[in-house]
Amino acid sequence: MIEILYLVCAVAFIIGLRRLSGPRTARSGNLLAALGMLGAVVITFVDENILNWETVAAGLAVGAGLGAWGAVRVQMTAMPQMVAAFNGLGGIASALVAAAAVVEREIASVPIEVSVTILVSTVIGAVTFTGSFIAFGKLQGIVTGKPLVFPGQKFINGTLGAAAAGIGLWTLTTGHEGGYWVLSGIALLIGVLAVLPIGGADMPVVISLLNSFSGLAAASAGFVIGNNALIIGGALVGAAGLILTIIMTEAMNRSLANVLFAGFGSGDGGVGAATMSDRPVKRATAEDAAIALGYATSVMIVPGYGLAVAQAQHATRELATALEEKGATVHYAIHPVAGRMPGHMNVLLAEADVPYDQLLDLEQADPLLQQTDVVLILGANDVVNPSARDDPTSPIYGMPILNVDRAATVIVVKRSLAPGFAGIDNPLFYDPKTLMYFDDAKQALEDTLVALREM
């Protein structure tokens, strides 16, 4: 009977996720999944022999309070680090469930298949925990967003991986509890070392992958306590995270291994930078931008991470509205890896009240660029770099880009001429049809709007 009730909760997760795939049904889907979760907790409370319910209730209350506080307070621009933090907490929870099983039931006394799942749950959960918090630190700016690469890094990581495997086997065969705790420590360390060498712009991949891991951690905790709701819920999340990971790596035309291990953007790729940076660019002022935009009948806005940094989503929307009032059509072209997590730009623009039918993905937007009068690039760089199309020696060659240089005029709003995260110079900036507007995105948009109104 209890099994059936858990199954009902798992089905709520599945239908909830299904409904999350359409904008109209998404909110109810999220609610349904949340109800499934509430149901699962209630069932556990009733069914399990909870000896000290005060402890459990206190934990639930503290967690709910902290979670709600974070969810209400977080700014939309900080959503990637928020998701990273939640991911990490899910991971450590699964590892702690396994650890509690170890202290409760003596690892030597449980059947081998249970002890295997305990180790798997601990390792995945611990890696997810520290990996997510390093990602959090990078996104929050506490840890440098640049890839941290040092000599012998791969050797150290390889040695740690081998040590973890050896100690894991030893723990399983001898049932020695000390081995379990050493293994947990190594797993925590591996999470740190695995994410440190990954650059900020690769975060969409990392967050997706850690999301998948948090699901796998939950599923393996499900094996430890023998609960199908955990296994199903965890498997669903593992699949969801993996799909997003694949979409992100494809949008970069790179393999997952390359993202994780190459230390991409650590500087080796920037060969062209020195030779090209001396070339002249056409600088633009707010007035120049306003004139170009004011006479355009079609405008495509390409947002990037710079938009999030500058908190410029509302200013963007205001300028777009002003242009629409002048009779222009305005769309937004959103590259899959723009920003720091999948869909990051969409959420920001939704916050600024941009209707989602104006948000075009790569396949929808790219064909329209040829007939676009003005492309306005706000803090995006690598995703509009024509080298990815034209220069076989470029490190990002083959990455699908928005071919903005096919539009009549391009305005790039950017703080400086510094190359993007990948350390690759962008020929777009030196294109005769490109106007470079050097300023903070929010400031630039506000000034352009003033200039536009004065026209």
């Binding site: 996720l17 459990v56 934990g59 991911n87 702690l96």
Partner: protein
């Protein structure tokens, strides 16, 4: 079949269901999908509740308590923040809103 094999069967089938259900999510909803899925991964709270309730004063109780806190932050925060995001997604404009 042993419990482990049953578990693996459930896991594999659920993963396939997950792939089928999620493949067609439009990019616009990638962030809410991720944070919603993230909240679901907090289902480990069930295991945490079980562990924390094992008995007073034990180390397992402390570990369980920490697990309950972490998983509940994940669940409650995840679902709430997803809802907050989804509330912002406006429908395509109706034939000219009354805004001037």
């Amino acid at each position: 079949m042993s419990e482990l094999v049953v578990g693996i069967t459930v896991f594999v089938l659920a993963a396939f269901v997950g792939f089928e259900v999620i493949t067609k999510v439009p990019p616009t909803l990638h962030t809410p999908l991720m944070s919603g899925a993230n909240a679901i991964s907090g289902v480990t709270v069930i295991g945490a509740v079980t562990a924390a309730g094992l008995g007073a004063g034990s180390l397992a109780e402390i570990l369980g308590f920490l697990a309950v806190v972490a998983a509940t932050v994940n669940v409650v925060g995840g679902f709430l923040v997803t809802d907050r995001m989804l509330r912002m997604f406006r429908r395509p404009r109706q034939p000219k809103p009354d805004k001037t």
